[in-house]
Point group: none
């Protein structure tokens, strides 16, 4: 028998992301994705139970690689502000390098499929950041508010600003990225 082909799996992943970026989540049909991945629609079902499974696992893949990017330069011995800045810059670098992954994730998160993801399991991968925030609260460096608030102010603004379709005529570059982190830090610091 033939062995399962990792290249096909990867091709499906890339095709899914590519197509969603080009024509949007709504129009990305199974047959179009299969064609973009240069496999038969039937082959897609060898690798995924159904369309939902394809979309969900593509999303999870992206989230995991994002978590790796954020936690790559993680160094618990640094000052809290520096730890967070490293994570923050890691995320920004990831988004800049993979804008297509990022846009896929946004469209997915705003679709009904999002309810199929085990959010709690995913959040665990981002726990190190959460722990740093908690430590900052204990050390009276960071505001003592719900961690959701801290996370939202740290990450949501750049996630929005990094989306060119939403921020017409604006690009996050070297110049304003420093200003942006300062603002994020000002928001959460005591």
């Amino acid at each position: 028998m033939r062995t399962k082909d990792d290249e096909k799996q990867a091709a499906l992943f890339e095709a899914t992301v590519k197509l969603v970026n080009e024509i949007g989540f709504v129009s990305s049909s199974v047959s179009k994705i299969a064609k973009a991945a240069k496999v038969s629609p039937a082959t897609l079902y060898v690798y995924h139970r159904n369309k939902e499974d394809l979309l969900v696992s593509t999303y999870v893949d992206i989230k995991l690689s994002l978590s790796r990017a954020i936690l790559a330069g993680f160094d618990d011995s640094l000052p809290i502000r520096d730890i967070l800045k490293n994570a923050w810059l890691g995320m920004f670098a990831y988004i800049s390098k993979h804008p297509d992954y990022f846009r896929y994730a946004e469209q997915f998160a705003n679709s009904p499929y999002t309810s199929l993801v085990d959010k709690a399991a995913l959040e665990k991968y981002f726990n190190p950041v959460l722990n740093v925030l908690k430590r900052g609260v204990e050390q009276k460096i960071i505001k003592d508010v719900d961690p959701h608030l801290l996370g939202a102010f740290l990450f949501q603004p750049i996630l929005h600003l990094a989306n060119p379709t939403k921020c017409n005529g604006f690009t996050l570059d070297e110049d304003n990225i420093e200003a942006a982190f300062t603002m994020a830090w000002d928001a959460i610091k005591l």
Copy 2:
């Protein structure tokens, strides 16, 4: 008194929002929307050139009513912080009152249809807020950075936090809403 036409128009608007909230953008077909609005699919085409036009104008409607909500209590004579806080609370109140409108807007903004909207024209309705931010910059009260940055830090965090499907186990209530504005203000103030 409303004419018959306006009633159908409004029914289509409500049905579109309702359906997108219930089954998502992807699954909201013309015939389902028509059925939910209790009109014939053909009638829908009396009021809108095509599906795209229905979705876009529903989105624009929502954005305009949001701008009215934000600018309702606008008073240029107040201190800058208070003006912004009023606008900010106005938006929060609107989202709390119309979570379905808000969710529709999010799904629409993450679809390819979003490119059909004249963003510049829409932004004009939010110009008063922008002008206040600019005045704040001039008066050295607010950081001198790109207005997109200011807007993103003011509004994106709560827009995210207000979405229950994204922030599992967290609700923006009276308690943390005050903390949230403080954080937003800390982010943008000099």
Copy 3:
């Protein structure tokens, strides 16, 4: 608006029966049926909720027309044997005239779809025959056994014999039809 077309409904009915006779129940797909009825597959769904509904209602149609054929010459004033013979000949005439209806019914009855039919409701249409059998029992003309047994011996043998694919090299004709009724009658009479 256009009005629903009885001709299309009838064409679908005929096409379903025709196709099942030509290529069998298993291979009779919606698109083939639609093509045979010279309508679009989508049009089929204007008249029937789904394939199941098409097949079931075609079956019910046939059963009802069979009951009309059997009960056409029904005359309660005749001797019991003559009443039954009339009904019996009515059924035989119907099968001979509409072998395709009959074969459709057989294939349907041996498919899982058969469980979707309200058998009790259908049986009511054949009640007059049942009542005659009961009267025969009371009058000690017919054996006092379960009516199912009486019905099975009256009708099953000819239903089987009328099927040319099952009885190779045998045809029920004028000659043996008389013999057949005699046998049926001998089976049930006291």
Copy 4:
């Protein structure tokens, strides 16, 4: 001792019957049958040229085992009525013991596959019964009609009555089985 091959062959046979009983002829696909038999779809093609061959040989298997069951207690020295009764009870016992085989055979016989079976060859296995009937005719014990008629009245009624999906609320038990044979005999005897 069974060889490995025979076990797979038998597993395919059982799986085919089981699946057709559970989900019907229409829905019983090759891959489902293979899965139920715990072999690969490809393995199925080692034992059978194609799906058709699998279904046909399963049918023939059943028919042969039925003939063995009918002819098991065959004793030519008994009176004709007793010989037939033994065969008749043999068939009834077989159906009662293997309702799934019986239901498979019914669905198969009402599918286009049935035309692929060499009916003449199969009928030979039932020749002993046929010969008894002929002897009965010669001895003026049984009606002098086409043997198809005799066979139909002997066996069709119970074949129908034994099918619970067709005879709702009726079960052939010890009580009415005696009555049923009497009716069958009355039908064919002179």
